[in-house]
């Protein structure tokens, strides 16, 4: 077995065990009101952070892709107009793809 294979398998099994660990906390812990509140806010904080990172992380430094920003701004406008998920999602992709034909500033 080559070192790359060993690394692939350790990292893959480790990633899976992390997923399993979160689902395997004892019920007494999960039913605690504080844990329930934290569990409610965790995806909100993590996914919002993920959006921020996807928008401005250029690999360890801030970098902004204006096409992506415009596309996500369009998505926010549609969300404010209370459009459905697929409309918002597909519009953002379409705007970003179409902007590839526009020369950058």
């Amino acid at each position: 077995m080559t070192p790359v294979w060993i690394a692939v398998i350790i990292a893959a099994v480790g990633t899976y065990l992390l997923k399993l660990a979160g689902m395997s906390l004892p019920e007494s812990v999960l039913n605690h009101p504080t844990v329930r509140r934290i569990a409610h806010y965790l995806p909100i904080a993590l996914l919002a952070a993920l959006v921020a990172v996807q928008l401005v992380d250029g690999g360890g430094h801030w970098a902004v892709n204006w096409r992506t920003l415009v596309a996500v701004a369009a998505a926010i406008v549609l969300l404010l107009l209370k459009r459905g998920f697929l409309t918002v999602f597909l519009t953002a992709i379409a705007v970003c793809a179409l902007l590839q034909f526009v020369p950058g500033p």
Partner: protein, 251 residues
């Protein structure tokens, strides 16, 4: 099947049909992203089956891209392990949240469920107003992404490193999807504060901390918010209750 009424708040899906359609939509996006992952992984020098084992067994996009990124940078491949694991820690947090939504079975039943715990399936599930829809959202999104992500990886690994995902507008797909899925849940000032706070923490840490850490540190915002009861409404037990959204989703 119920159609989404035009006045449904935010991007809340609100019915079985819309949930499944949204899951397939995200699955197609994941398939396209999987295509670019397969190509990047092949370009990084991983052999076909190593690339496939990552998508089949690791099945966590951010961790996989981090793994091949570090592996491609040269040096020992073992340096890629902590990079992948660091980005996978947030899945453990998602598992805690999903434990409230998914039926808690014996360990052998949790084994396949845990495999599908990723950003998208979690976001889809917590974005739904009621329990049956939350479960449907988790399973349909998880299965659709697993199948299409792996098919995409397969094609990408075979085609090779000549693909450029930015040309298909996919850069905006991730942020737009997560924003749209988060949106209906941001009904209270506190929830909005947690979202803004989490984003700010990650933003500040990007230039300072290694990949994966900025998003993880955003969990501290949820911790602080969860430790205090302030800002909770009386219906706090079910913050995604549809009656809550009558307050409006406009910030």
């Amino acid at each position: 099947m119920t159609a989404v009424p035009n006045d449904s708040p935010g991007a809340e899906l609100g019915g079985r049909g819309p949930v499944v359609r949204a899951a397939v939509g995200i699955g197609v996006y994941a398939g396209a992203l999987g295509l670019s992952f397969g190509a990047v992984s092949a370009g990084a020098g991983l052999v076909f089956w190593q690339t496939m084992v990552l998508s089949l067994l690791m099945f966590s996009g951010a961790s996989q891209f981090a793994f091949v990124g570090v592996a491609a940078a040269g040096g020992t491949p073992f340096a890629a392990i902590p990079a992948a694991l660091l980005l996978g820690v947030r899945n453990a947090f998602y598992g805690v949240t999903l434990s409230e939504i998914l039926p808690r079975g014996p360990l052998w039943k949790r084994l396949p469920t845990a495999h599908l715990v990723i950003d998208e399936s979690t976001a889809m599930a917590v974005g739904q107003p009621r329990l049956p829809l939350q479960r449907l959202a988790f399973w349909s999104c998880g299965v659709a992404i697993f199948v299409l992500w792996n098919l995409g990886t397969l094609a990408g690994a075979l085609i090779g490193a000549s693909l450029d995902s930015t040309r298909f507008g996919l850069d905006a797909a991730g942020p737009a999807a997560f924003l749209a899925l988060l949106w209906p849940g941001l009904t209270t000032m506190k929830a909005r504060g947690v979202a803004v706070g989490g984003a700010l923490v990650a933003l500040v840490l990007i230039p300072i901390a290694p990949a994966g850490v900025p998003v993880l540190c955003a969990a501290l915002v949820a911790l602080v918010a969860g430790l205090s009861r302030r800002g909770e409404r009386s219906s706090g037990e079910d913050p995604l209750d549809p009656t809550d959204t009558a307050e409006g989703v406009l910030p």
